[in-house]
């Protein structure tokens, strides 16, 4: 499943603090984008410092600087308003999809009773985000003083500059569009590569620039794993497990090997979790797709389908209270899987409240 797609459908931006992660039910083919608000220009001294970070990151990553992007500042309140407006403008199909997904997550205990997916995401977004790269408009936006004493703003900035360089080198919109209609984990593993690469590159930059604690963080990246509840694990997957995966690929083949991941990402989250299976090319056993929509009854239809991978099985088991080591062992036996959501006309027309 693919929370990256869930979050992307809510925000359509790459956020560093909570951003898109792995996992989650598949997203519908289309959603209604809302352009980000106009940004304010950067002060010259800020721009100069930002570009120093950008140039260092480019040198580490071995990708050219993307000088086609728009850089600007947005007030945090404007960003929150944007997210809120975006959720209000969610299209009919997208809303039905989110409602259906909320029910499915509740039944798997990934969401608690009374929780809904869009609200859970909006609670996080807008508060802890320091900046983002919007690949629809090719804009890099900072929300606060990125050069504060905490260095986290600088870390965010480096991360988002990596995304801008990835976009120029690999055309991220084109890659994301390939996910449409696939019953595989492609969208999850593509997001995994994008964020894992940015997390690794940023960790190297911060370690080289600031040393100390940042060096320790880089050293621990290989053992990195997401934590928290199931929803947090989905959100954190790209920055934990995926950073560790990209780190291993980089150790073996350098940045050329990392660049190759964009064209051919791991085929499953199983390969992300077990890099030896990636190197060995162990793919997914195809679960024969059976569309039960017509069988359920007239008025029912498939609203989304996608891969259900090892990480999904693991989190499903964890959400049900299975001990971590047991869930991990059981999920490792995964050979292939997919998930489909079906909804009735009644639900599509009436929404959750009246159904």
């Amino acid at each position: 499943m693919e929370l990256s797609r869930i979050l992307a459908s809510v925000t359509v931006i790459a956020l560093v603090t909570l951003a898109s992660g792995c996992g989650g039910l598949p997203e519908p083919a289309q959603y209604d984008p809302l352009p980000i608000p106009t940004t304010q220009p950067l002060a010259p001294e800020v721009r100069s410092k930002m570009h120093a970070v950008r140039d260092d990151v480019a040198a580490i990553r071995g990708l050219p600087v993307n000088d086609k992007i728009v850089e600007g500042v947005m007030e945090r309140e404007a960003f929150r308003d944007h997210l809120s407006a975006r959720s209000q403008l969610t299209g009919f199909g997208q809303r039905a999809y989110e409602d259906a997904m909320t029910i499915s997550y509740q039944q798997m205990r990934i969401l608690g009773p009374g929780e809904d997916l869009a609200s859970s995401q909006l609670e996080h977004l807008g508060g802890g985000v320091a900046g983002f790269y919007d690949f629809s408009s090719r804009s890099l936006v900072v929300l606060e003083d990125v050069f504060s004493e905490s260095l986290e703003g600088e870390e965010t900035l480096a991360h988002e500059y990596v995304h801008s360089m990835q976009d120029a080198a690999h055309d991220l919109s084109k890659l994301h569009n390939r996910a449409s209609g696939l019953r595989t984990e492609y969208a999850s593993t593509l997001s995994c590569v994008i964020e894992g690469d940015a997390t690794l590159t940023t960790a190297i930059y911060m370690a080289q620039t600031h040393g100390g604690e940042w060096q320790a963080r880089l050293d621990s990246l290989l053992a990195s794993a997401s934590d928290g509840g199931p929803l947090e694990r989905y959100s954190g997957f790209n920055y934990g497990e995926c950073a560790a995966f990209v780190y291993r690929v980089w150790q073996r083949g350098g940045w050329d090997a990392v660049d190759a991941l964009f064209e051919k990402p791991p085929s499953t989250t199983e390969q992300v979790l077990h890099v030896d299976k990636f190197f060995a090319g162990e793919g997914m056993k195809l679960a024969r797709s059976i569309d039960v929509g017509d069988s359920i009854g007239s008025g029912w239809r498939n609203i989304a389908s996608g891969g259900f991978g090892e990480f999904d099985v693991y989190l499903y088991l964890r959400a049900a209270g299975t001990a971590d080591d047991v869930a991990r062992r059981l999920a490792e036996g995964w050979g292939g899987g997919e998930v489909s959501l079906y909804s009735s006309h009644r639900m599509l027309l009436g929404g959750l409240m009246t159904w």
Binding site: L25, A100, I103, S104, Q107, M108, R109, K285, L286, A287, R288, S289, I290, V292, S295, I296, G297, W300, F308, V313, Y316, L317, A319, A320, G321, T322, V326, R329, L330, E332, G333, W334, G335, G336, G337, E338, V339, S340, L341, Y342, S343, S344, M347, W355
Partner: protein, 91 residues
Amino acid sequence: MVTHIALVWDTRSDYADFRSAYSQVLMGLEYGAPSLSESGRRWDWKGRSDRDSGAALWDESHLRVDILFGTDPKAVQTGTKALADYAARQR
């Protein structure tokens, strides 16, 4: 709303381990113990509310399980029967 998850396992042992653990999963999800069909291939369960229900179809020959759950018991039953009929035709 109906969710259909289809899973295939690497080995017979992996399949058997998951099958044996899945009843505990259902308990963890507060569904209680599932009722088993005579053949043991089909499990059915009820949820916390009248509208929550689910079923699992176990196919050892293909190391596969199909899990359906949702908020419309009739739809879950109909969908499960369709899957069972399909599986029977494959045997």
